[in-house]
């Protein structure tokens, strides 16, 4: 990486500003399905993204050729694109003071996966897969671990330098049960890897990966014998592995500043949130407190500097239900200030890898714990549904009309948990849903989760984000079920 910096400083053309972001990433996936090991797959990725600001234009060029010649070609191409777009850009990029990073970050990694052999990884995953064979109704069992080590060096024309390293651990466990003409899937934390954190084997410990197989399998069997969730207006208790999706879709995306500025309108969409709302808009009930939290230990999108080099610091996004600031980085903030001078933001301009330019992302976005115990929340519900683990998600292009489904539901009657129900779905409108937040769980209900699969941007980027939340109760929600 030092040689990349040396090469970059030697290869850079005259420009108002330039940056080089060099990324290397090693991944490995190990999986077992129905006790049969699937072949291991690993990847070694490496490349650089160069940016050049010249005469107000901005050009990016990425290459997997990290030699001096490759860097020079990338700089030349980026400069050509900056020139071609000069005076035809949405913003004069010369006018924004780009960050001057100086520092680094290293994710926690208490029990490095590198200390474990491939055979030992298979032994663990085989054990977890086998442990889910608890009932004749089980027709499919899958378990796996996905590890990633990423190293990134970011250097700028004015001497900025940020070097960051991450270890990511993602476990997966899903079981399919079939009986009575129905089939149900239950997973440990969602079929799309909701339990994902930074770190090594200690993440698997926190996920209870080694011991969770029987629980997941039993719940799959429970579901296949359960009745459908009833339809109607209910109080709903959303557990953290559904709250993460609710936060993601109806707080995270609508608050992305590039959506508000219109960049995403051809693809991901716009937002019902407008710049005038910040500082005054009642986004949710007074119980709603949301933070941008890049400093949460081991959370999936923790970092010290974003991909424009801005230092990441925790900020209130929503406090007491009032919307305070959008999720937008250096460039978006500068663009937005041409429309509203006092708009703030957070350092969250990120790219999924070396081959995509950075855009506004949500990173770690968390609902802060409240004061209610889980028992108090359940006791407060006369007729409601507790829902766990997202299985379906859809929301409109303004991030308002949503419909979400969960794997596992449990009725709550007269303040007590009652029977399990399957296919619990609910729908609502973001602008009013968060105002129906009526109780927020305490720290004992708080879980740190996330997703490796947040998609956005043109060209498309799928990126890691973190969401931590307590259990939350919402009043008078439209609930329904499936057709079967």
């Amino acid at each position: 990486m030092d040689s990349i910096e040396h090469l970059a400083r030697g290869a850079a053309p005259p420009a108002d500003y330039w940056s080089v972001r060099a990324v290397t990433e090693q991944t490995e996936r190990v999986g077992v399905r129905d006790d049969v090991a699937e072949p291991p797959v690993r990847q070694h990725d490496a490349g650089v993204m160069v940016s050049v600001i010249c005469d107000g234009g901005l050009g990016y060029a990425a290459t997997s050729d990290v030699s001096e010649a490759g860097l020079k070609r990338a700089f030349t191409r980026a400069a050509e694109l900056a020139a071609a777009s000069s005076k035809r850009t949405v913003f004069d990029y010369r006018t924004v003071p780009m960050p001057l990073p100086d520092g680094g970050y290293r994710s926690p990694n208490d029990k490095p996966i590198a200390a474990v052999s491939l055979a030992e990884k298979y032994d663990l995953v085989q054990h977890v897969c086998a442990s889910a064979k608890v009932d004749a109704a089980i027709v499919e069992r899958q378990a796996g671990i996905w590890t990633t080590r990423t190293h990134q060096l970011f250097v700028t024309s004015d001497g900025g330098r940020a070097e960051q390293s991450w270890d990511f651990m993602v476990s997966s466990l899903a079981v399919v049960a079939s009986a009575n003409g129905d089939t149900q899937t239950r997973s440990s934390a969602g079929q799309y890897n909701g339990f994902c954190q930074q770190g090594g084997l200690e993440v698997l410990d926190r996920a209870e990966f080694a011991t969770d197989g029987p629980r997941v399998a039993r719940e799959a069997v429970e579901l296949v014998h359960a009745r459908n969730c009833p339809s109607g207006e209910f109080d709903v208790l959303l557990m953290p592995d559904q709250m993460m999706l609710q936060i993601h879709e109806s707080i995270g995306h609508p608050l992305e500043l590039d959506r508000i500025l219109g960049d995403e309108r051809n693809f991901a969409g716009t937002s019902f949130v407008t710049l005038d709302m910040f500082g005054a808009y009642q986004y949710g009930s007074p119980l709603l407190n949301v933070t941008y939290a890049p400093d949460v230990h081991a959370q999936f999108a923790a970092f010290a500097f974003d991909d424009d080099g801005a230092r990441a610091e925790r900020q209130w996004i929503i406090k007491g239900g009032v919307l305070l600031r959008p999720l937008g980085g250096t460039v978006s903030q500068a663009r937005a200030r041409e429309l509203r001078a006092d708009i703030a933001g957070v350092s969250t301009t990120r790219a999924c890898s070396w081959n995509r330019p950075p855009i506004d992302r949500m990173s770690n976005l968390n609902v802060e714990p409240g004061t209610s115990t889980l028992e108090q929340m359940i006791a407060s519900i006369e007729n409601g549904v507790m829902m766990r683990t997202n299985s379906s998600w859809s929301i409109d292009d303004s991030r308002n009309k949503f419909q979400f489904g969960c794997e596992y539901g449990q009725m709550i009657r007269n303040g007590k948990l009652a029977e399990v129900v399957k296919r619990p779905n609910y729908r609502g409108i973001s602008a009013s849903f968060w105002r129906s937040l009526s109780m927020v769980g305490d720290a004992a209900t708080f879980q740190v989760m996330g997703t490796p699969y947040c998609g956005k941007g043109e060209p498309n980027q799928v990126i890691r984000v973190g969401h931590a939340a307590p259990a939350c109760k919402f009043s008078d929600v439209t609930v329904f079920s499936g057709a079967n």
């Binding site: 049969v36 690993r42 990425a62 499919e140 859809s394």
Partner: protein, 440 residues
């Protein structure tokens, strides 16, 4: 680049002692991505990327590793040889895979499609000239994309497609917009200008007072793009052999004979007419056509090599997700000029957005209307509608609910660029459907 790949393949696919098979799956692209907002450039990006995945097999054991490549044959060969040998050494730690299936024939293929592509500056100039005065937002993506495969048996597959895909929206205000696209292999600025003129005309229709529909059942017309959205969702777990065998297929009711689609519905995976490669990363070559639904009834599934071995059927060369890459719905007989007349009173749906299953086993889908959707009365577009959420079963929509399919089927190229530009697409006609359920 073909020559470089052949050199790499000749060296890397020379199986070392004790290795039964070496495979090499190669991917490369040189792309310009020009992103626009408010008719101006937001981000202009050039990407040159290459990587190759090398696989080694001994008996029933396999390991695969991919490496980013520089384009320098010497350095790339060394990197791939190092990875190959490391994987070979690792094989002793890999459990046997009883479902490992390897190709039993050597089938080499070549497809090369060149293009006349614009420079980034030409694209930026064209937008400045023809989108001036509009609120234009979108992405131009263009350049050559290569997929290739080689193995130690001597198979060589090369698939090189140069193309561009420009997709944009012209906004009237708020969430009201018209979506357009221009894709092909020969850039013609005059054609882009014509499409922009058409988009301006359509945006004018959005100026009429907007109508908010109450939830309920509506007769609707899905454009070919909207049908492609539904079929793309159906491709997510609908056509795979493994999903069928484990009972989670979203078309399980068809497989069980509990439901059937309208007799006019036929679906095929048609790689011979699409832009997707004919081969996959294990070296299996796909048949020209795989029948999936014929005359409303299930006709087949897509089988990856693993599923084929596990369930004892022939592999269709499918990817590991068992999802189609060149899905085609057969057209019907409704002439385009008769679409609105046949619709009568209902809703014209140009685009759908953010689809997902609300009940997978019932093949029930939810999603949103998006862009230029109109209320229609007596065969006339009368008002743009506010966005609506729908929740309805594909089996019902294209079963008892299907009124007619249009006589023309359009290719909707897959515009996705996650990681790399996608070589896939869906070909579909438009469809008039009765009783489509809006819920919110």
């Amino acid at each position: 680049m073909r020559e470089e790949f052949d050199k790499l393949a000749d060296t890397v696919c020379d199986a070392p002692s004790g290795i039964d098979l070496v495979g090499l799956a190669f991917a490369a692209e040189t792309s310009d991505f020009i992103r626009f907002n408010h008719s101006k450039v937001r981000q202009a990006t050039h990407v040159e990327q290459r990587n190759a995945a090398v696989s080694v097999v001994r008996g029933q054991r396999r390991a695969t590793g991919s490496v980013a490549l520089s384009g320098d044959t010497g350095r790339d060969t060394a990197a791939l040889l190092a990875e190959r040998d490391a994987l070979a050494a690792q094989l002793v730690l890999v459990p046997e895979d009883k479902y490992l299936l390897l190709p039993d024939t050597v089938t080499s293929t070549t497809r090369v499609s060149d293009a006349r592509l614009p420079s980034a500056a030409q694209v930026i100039d064209a937008v400045a000239r023809h989108a001036d005065g509009t609120d234009f937002v979108g992405l131009y993506a263009g350049g050559p994309v290569v997929r290739a495969f080689a193995d130690s048996r001597g198979q060589r597959n090369w698939h090189s497609i140069a193309s561009f895909h420009f997709e944009w929206s012209v906004y009237r205000g708020g969430d009201q917009a018209v979506k357009s696209s221009y894709a092909g292999t020969a850039w013609d600025e005059a054609e882009f200008a014509r499409k922009m003129t058409r988009a301006r005309e359509q945006v004018a229709l959005l100026a009429r007072p907007r109508k908010t529909l109450p939830p309920g059942e509506y007769r609707v017309y899905f454009t070919p793009v909207a049908v492609a959205e539904l079929l793309t969702t159906l491709s997510w777990g609908g056509f795979g052999l493994r999903a069928k065998q484990t009972g989670v297929s979203t078309l399980i009711q068809l497989h069980k004979g509990e439901a059937q689609l309208d007799a006019s519905v036929s679906l095929t995976e048609s790689v011979s007419t699409g832009i997707a490669p004919r081969f996959q990363d294990d070296g299996f070559v796909k048949p020209d056509v795989v029948k999936l639904v014929e005359a409303g009834r299930v006709a087949g599934t897509l089988a990856s090599p693993r599923s084929a071995k596990e369930y004892g059927v022939a592999a269709t060369g499918s990817n590991s997700f068992e999802s189609p890459e060149s899905l085609a719905m057969a057209p019907g007989s409704l002439a385009e000029r008769d679409v609105l007349k046949t619709l009568g009173t209902g809703v014209y749906l140009s685009n759908l957005h953010y689809l997902n299953y609300s009940d997978r086993l019932a093949c029930r889908m939810t999603g949103m209307t998006r862009f230029a959707c109109f209320a229609v009365e007596h065969g006339e577009l009368v008002a743009p509608i506010s966005v609506m959420r729908f929740d309805d079963s594909f089996l019902r929509m294209f079963g008892t609910g299907l009124v007619a399919l249009t006589a023309n089927a359009d290719l909707s190229p897959d515009a996705q660029t996650y990681g790399s530009r996608t070589l896939a697409g869906v070909t579909a006609p438009g469809a008039v459907v009765d009783g489509f359920r809006f819920t919110l």
